[in-house]
């Protein structure tokens, strides 16, 4: 797991996972909110919504659009842009989608997101992760939820930063670093 590129990818997954969880748990799951701000219906005829929802259904291989996306689609332009980032973050790239779903599950578990934990667990299972693999991710998440709190309680200072080699490659498409 060396080189910075995979870590940029992982960070993007963490970011958009949290973004979706915020809207899913904080808004889309609350009847008091959706009664005032109803989600877009599955069969909304606007072409931009039809296209967006078709992409989402295909990406997740499910017949229904997750409620959070229907809620966000109240602003179709915003939802389409956000979806572009979500799809890019989660699609197979240097990191496989299966691992990205595991990262998203760990993030959701750590941030106590009921929607995110359930959704990314379903996605992990759909992508072939078995019971053992799920428990592996839960175990790692638990153990490092312990280590981090022990470290914070004792205010330990980082002392392992020099284990990983520095990646001197440029940004994608950019020139090599001078000097």
């Amino acid at each position: 797991m060396t080189g910075d590129a995979i870590w940029y990818e992982a960070a993007h997954v963490v970011g958009v996972t949290n973004a979706l969880n915020v809207a899913a748990d904080g808004l889309a799951a609350l009847p008091a909110v959706t009664s005032m701000l109803p989600p877009v219906t599955e069969d909304d005829p606007r072409p931009e919504i039809v296209t967006l929802f078709a992409e989402i259904r295909a990406f997740y291989a499910r017949p229904e659009v997750p409620a959070v996306f229907r809620f966000l689609a109240r602003d179709a332009g915003y939802a389409a842009d956000l979806w572009g980032a979500v799809r890019r973050a989660f699609d197979d790239n240097r990191l496989p989608r299966r691992l990205k779903e595991a990262l998203a599950f760990a993030v959701s578990l750590t941030t106590r997101s009921p929607w995110g934990s359930a959704f990314h667990l379903q996605e992990m299972r759909r992508l072939g992760v078995g019971d053992g693999g799920v428990m592996e991710v839960i175990g790692v998440t638990q153990m490092f939820s312990s280590y981090t709190k022990i470290a914070d309680t004792l205010q330990l200072e980082p002392d392992m930063g020099d284990i990983a080699p520095i990646d001197d490659s440029p940004a994608p498409g950019g020139p090599a670093r001078s000097g």
């Binding site: 175990g139 998440t141 470290a151």
Partner: protein, 84 residues
């Protein structure tokens, strides 16, 4: 600044020295001084022992590789805003 004085490795008894050697092997890195967390865990072997075994069990390659699990661990640490 840590809220406790982290003891040097030389201040730990022999069983802890063995744990420090295992830590070097685990991280494949020759620390000048054991990592702070290793020294914290060695303070009480009756806690650090089972905690460390649970960690190694969780981190061992299975459906996910050790490297993939290190990434999960890094993500969890980041979300917990843990600087260490």
């Amino acid at each position: 600044m840590p809220t406790v004085r982290l003891r040097d490795a030389s201040e730990y008894p022999d069983p802890a020295q063995r744990l420090f050697e295992l830590s070097k092997i685990w991280f494949n890195h020759d620390f000048k001084e054991p990592a702070a967390m290793s020294r914290v865990m060695a303070w009480d072997p009756e806690f650090g022992g089972p905690h460390g075994r649970a960690m190694k069990r969780a981190m061992a390659s299975g459906e996910f590789t050790r490297g993939e699990k290190e990434m999960v661990a890094a993500v969890v640490s980041g979300v917990n805003a843990c600087e260490y």
